[in-house]
Amino acid sequence: MSADRLRSPLGRALGLGSAKEGVEHWWLQRVTAVALVPLTLWFVAALIAHLGADHAVAVAWLRSPFTAVAMILLVVATFVHMALGLQVVIEDYVHHEATKIASLMLVRLACWALGAAALFAVLRVAFGS
């Protein structure tokens, strides 16, 4: 590890390298992936069980504490996983610097906006109005 000898003690302890980032992106993508395995399977099964449900039935379903918490987890994990995944796709394929930065910002903001809308909808139904 000759490169390591050239690092300051602080730089070695942080272990972040020139990108100033460690494994956060990679790790968060894995954590959300693992969370999404049971959550998406549950969601598909719940959707099938409530196909063609009218508004009152769907609201009653989403109001139950288990459903509400599971939906909050599903929405958060989905939009975080999606923001990280789309970021990598843009970084891989968009090489023009200005276009890349604009796309990265647009996609990240769109993920936040959609996620906030979905999360607010779940909370509004769960707490009644």
Binding site: V37, I48, V59, F79, A117, V122
Partner: protein, 130 residues
């Protein structure tokens, strides 16, 4: 500065197609498809929170032939990304890198995602009929 025109390494089209490369790009493609699908998810949830009329519009669209087609694509994309994602998690843990294994797990992913899609739709159509 314009780059010098040096010889490039062979691009994708010269290689023989293999299951591993098809699944690799399909993982990304289904990820993009699922991202588009989150628009449907957000719309459906917001409609549910808005009220019976907005919810009826959303349910009506999802029940139309176009809605069903999108849901079919969404179901397959979800199961594929899920199954292949689990394959990726095993690779992350250091397992399954042998050539034979990557091919076998690749076909297992194709079979699993097709089977899960069929099971979900049979269950769904049976629930609608019954």
């Amino acid at each position: 500065m314009t780059p010098a025109s040096r010889p490039l390494s062979p691009h994708l089209q010269v290689y023989r197609w293999q299951i591993t490369m098809v699944l690799s790009i399909s993982h990304r493609a289904t990820g993009l498809a699922l991202s588009v699908g989150t628009l449907l998810l957000a719309w459906w949830l917001v409609a549910l929170a808005t009220g019976p009329q907005a919810f009826a519009v959303a349910q009506g669209f999802l029940g139309s032939w176009l809605g069903k087609l999108l849901l079919l694509g969404w179901t397959f994309s979800l199961f594929f990304h899920l199954a292949n994602g689990i394959r990726h998690l095993f690779w992350d843990a250091g397992y399954g890198f042998e050539n034979k294994t990557t091919t076998a797990t690749g076909w297992a992913v194709v079979l699993a995602s097709a089977a899960l899609t069929v099971i979900a739709w049979v269950a769904g159509l049976a629930a609608m009929a019954g």
